[in-house]
């Protein structure tokens, strides 16, 4: 066993041993006559597999050495940081924040493609009235699509772009806790795999919201989803602590809070939400798991449990989670605008304040998901107020973007096109959100396709448009090569037109009473649904252009300069891709991040590594 070094092979072996021990011991107990349920076997098997996987990977080896009071092998610790040009560092427990950023980003896009494939299957079923794949298969596909896309929205920007860029943008050599950082990434593969194979366990068909009692009736696939979600939550909390400590303790001299790039601010608020809110949903899902596996009755009405309590706990996290998904996108957009408008970010202090206000208010609006749930009658009124109030700070994002664009010198490179696409999509999402915040209209719209259209306009419009803007913008920095501009623009136009053609008609479908989460619909809506399906397939095709552009440009694209966009923030003052330690000498920052058109140049010009 000694020959087997920490790594993926040993991790897979560890997972297999863990699963074997978990399943085997309970199976043994079962043959001895104990009453054991399948869910209990799955639970213990998964838990031990996860622990075995991480041990095999070597995730705990440095901490264990330290805890045992032994000397840490410096050469080994150094090796864990990775060597530049070695591709194997991307499949190892590597502690370099740039490697972890790429791991997150590539994983998120792979998951995006998988979940997108599920969406295509949904649109195949919905292209015509009547049933094709069947009700049960449809609900499982729909649930898996939702669970995976939620994960993409949660991890792609903060985990991918955030990990790669935040330390560099604030002038640090790495995150505060590089090993914890690697651990948060490596906590993800197993739960994601579990969600992907949930059909083998009977699938889960209650949607990502997993409302009991339906989710208590459902089969093992449901339990797989709950366990996976809790694991992703643990990863989120670890990652949040890491971001907060990094931002508050590791800024370069002169990088005051109000000189931080707006992207860093957005991620700081996001990390705070992740830290505070995630434990609530992890708690709710754990209670639900206990109801299923350990026979408790938190949410079992038949035994005195409260069904609506779950919805309160779930949305108390899951509404802030909408901002955990959205804020990084808004941050990426506002980061791109000044560079391609060649103007300082308009109303920067107000934008910072608006992010913080969104963060605070996001904890006070959860019950707007429950206007028809039967919750306390008076509670509709304060929740309607707070929900509508949150549009004031959210509106500031439009103020900042439009104010920067106005009178600017606009360069319509691909990232800037995504900014314009974002403003349109997020505006539609925001306006239609008011109809759902207003109780009288929400009663009519709740649980219809209007809601589906609305949240796709906000989450795709906010997060995915932000993700694409950011990915194109930072592609030269991350890979050291330029993407293909024409393919980038083709991707933008194709995606944006197809996206709007898909989701705009859904508002109408919702008003025409088409229910969400249903495989069939009245025949009269067949024509519009066929149109929507064709448009949706076009979204998928346009993403293929993106994937081709990224893969091809990463290998063959022309070499990128350190600062191809003439941007002022710190990450552009180091080489592309950045050297392994980011900075030879930590820069001193002497100006704000967006001093375009002014006498001041880049914030640390001449001080950073060329």
């Amino acid at each position: 066993m000694k020959a087997l070094k920490p790594g993926l092979t040993r991790a897979v072996l560890g997972a297999a041993i863990g699963a074997g021990v978990g399943v085997g011991s309970l199976a043994l107990a079962s043959t001895a006559g104990l009453l054991i349920e399948d869910g209990q076997i799955l639970g213990l098997g998964y838990l031990l597999a996860l622990i075995g996987f991480l041990f095999g990977l070597g995730a705990f080896r440095f901490w264990l050495t330290w805890a045992a009071g032994r000397e840490i092998n410096v050469a080994e610790e150094h090796a864990a940081h990775g060597t530049s040009g070695d591709w194997r560092r991307y499949i190892r427990f590597t502690t370099d924040h740039k490697v972890i950023g790429v791991q997150y980003l590539v994983s998120a896009f792979l998951l995006f493609l998988t979940a997108g494939t599920f969406a295509m299957l949904m649109r195949v079923e919905l292209a015509q009235p009547g049933l094709l794949l069947g009700k049960e298969a449809y609900n499982q596909i729909m649930s898996t699509h939702g669970a995976m896309m939620i994960t993409v929205a949660l991890i792609s920007i903060i985990g991918g772009l955030g990990n790669f860029l935040v330390p560099i943008m604030i002038g640090a050599r790495d995150m505060a806790f590089p090993k914890t950082n690697a651990l948060s990434y490596w906590l993800l593969p197993l739960p994601i795999l579990l969600v992907a194979v949930n059909p083998l366990l009977g699938g889960f068909d209650s949607g990502w919201t997993a409302y009991p009692p339906l989710s208590q009736q459902a089969n093992l696939g449901q339990q797989a989803y709950l366990m996976a979600f809790v694991t992703v939550g643990i990863s989120s909390i670890l990652s949040a602590i890491n971001f907060l400590v990094t931002v508050f303790r590791m800024r370069a001299p002169g990088m005051s809070l109000m000189r931080m790039p707006i992207f860093v601010w957005a991620l700081t608020v996001t990390a705070t939400l992740m830290l505070v809110a995630t434990s609530v949903v992890a708690g709710a899902f754990t209670m639900l798991l206990f109801d299923r596996v350990l026979g408790t009755s938190f949410f079992r009405a038949s035994r005195g449990g409260d069904v609506i309590l779950f919805q309160h706990l779930f949305w108390f996290y899951s509404h802030p989670a909408v901002y955990i998904m959205g804020l990084p996108g808004l941050g990426a957009i506002l980061e791109v605008v000044p560079v391609f408008a060649r103007k300082p970010l308009f109303a920067y202090p107000l934008a910072v304040l608006s992010f913080i206000t969104i963060g605070v208010l996001s904890f006070m609006v959860w019950a707007h998901h429950m206007f028809v749930s039967g919750m306390a009658e008076f509670f509709h009124i304060p929740i309607m107020l707070t929900t509508e109030l949150i549009s004031v700070p959210t509106g500031i994002v439009f103020l900042a973007a439009l104010g920067t664009i106005w009178m600017g010198k606009l360069h319509f490179k691909t990232p800037m096109l995504w900014v314009f696409g974002f403003i349109w999509a997020f505006l539609i999402g925001g306006i239609t959100g008011v109809y759902l915040a207003d109780v009288p209209t929400d009663i009519a719209l709740s649980d219809t396709y209007f809601v589906v259209a609305h949240f796709h306009y906000t989450i795709v419009g906010g997060t995915i448009f932000g993700l694409f803007a950011g990915t194109y913008y930072w592609f030269p920095k991350i890979t050291g090569r330029m993407y293909n501009e024409r393919l980038g623009q083709l991707h933008f136009w194709w995606f944006t037109l197809a996206f709007n053609a898909t989701f705009l008609p859904m508002f109408w479908l919702g008003i025409e009473d088409m229910r969400r989460r249903v495989a069939d619909y009245p025949a009269a809506l067949g024509g519009v649904n066929l149109f929507v399906s064709i448009a949706a397939f076009n979204i998928f095709l346009s993403v293929a252009v993106f994937v081709f552009n990224m893969v091809w440009s990463w290998r063959r694209g022309p070499k990128a300069a350190a600062n191809p966009w003439r941007a002022h923030t710190l990450e552009w003052q180091v080489a592309s891709p950045p050297p392994i330690q980011n900075f030879d000498e930590i820069p001193t920052v002497s100006a704000g991040p967006y001093e375009y058109g002014g006498p001041v140049g880049a914030p640390a010009e001449g001080r950073a590594t060329p």
Binding site: M384, G403, K409, I423, P440, D513
Partner: protein
């Protein structure tokens, strides 16, 4: 070279024209496909008001984007734009307008909400019971049970909703009412039907395999017809054939 003030005036003029055109277009439209209750009327007016208010907001951003895309292109010019970091006046106006809009919307919404859900009095009560995957109705005043919902026109009806198993949602689109049926937790809703007729309803909350086909039928008739029906009760629940689901005129 056009001055910054001039740009603002041209854009403002475009915005005004487009907003007025848009408002004229959407004012007075019927948003809900079928309106057969007081509640649906309230909701439809809320829809119209929100849509009218959305038009200038939408146009402001669209005109701002379109104008900038047309007039503020760099066209190969590598110069930076003017170093404007903000405008206290404009920011203050923006904040004030959005704040006033929000408070106004909230006030209007609260009035509509109280209109729909307030006043806990009724002329007629029905017990609604949901199970996977069917609806059952019981009329306590007459001791009658049925699979179709029968209610009087023009009277405030109180629906008390229960579920036997999982969460369902009682939804009659033409009435603009939707209320979850929650196991172990009775919920309620009021409705005043305004037009006699037969209306389809459906379960709006995913409740498992049969959710897709969990429909119901509501028959709205005048009081005397309803009393007749209640005095000659339909055959007991189980033997009754499922409702034929005939569509109302649209």
């Amino acid at each position: 070279m056009i001055s910054s003030r001039r740009h603002a005036w041209i854009a403002a003029a475009a915005w005004t024209v487009l907003s007025i055109l848009g408002i004229v277009l959407v004012a007075g439209i019927q948003v809900l496909p079928v309106i057969a209750s007081r509640e649906a009327e309230i909701e439809n007016s809320a829809f119209v008001l929100l849509t009218v208010l959305s038009v200038p907001v939408l146009m402001f951003v669209v005109v701002g984007l379109a104008y900038s895309a047309l007039r503020f292109r760099a066209n190969g010019d590598l110069e930076d734009g003017p170093p404007i970091h903000g405008s206290r006046g404009f920011q203050a106006v923006w904040l004030s307008v959005s704040f006033v809009l929000v408070i106004g919307l909230f006030g209007y919404g609260a009035i509509g909400l109280i209109d729909i859900r307030g006043a806990q009095v009724s002329d007629f009560e029905v017990q609604v019971r949901a199970e996977q995957w069917a609806w059952h109705f019981e009329y306590p005043s007459a001791g009658v049970k049925s699979k179709e919902l029968h209610i009087p026109v023009g009277e405030r009806v109180h629906l008390v909703i229960n579920s036997d198993d999982v969460i369902h949602s009682f939804w009659v689109p033409a009435f603009g009412i939707k209320q979850d049926a929650v196991p172990g937790h009775p919920t309620q809703i009021y409705v005043t039907a305004t037009v006699a007729g037969t209306y389809p309803g459906l379960c709006a909350e995913l409740c498992g395999f049969g959710h897709t086909d969990m429909h119901l039928t509501v028959v709205v008739s005048d009081r005397s017809a309803l009393e007749d029906w209640l005095n000659h009760p339909p055959p007991p629940d189980d033997s009754q054939p499922p409702p034929d689901g005939s569509e109302p005129p649209r």
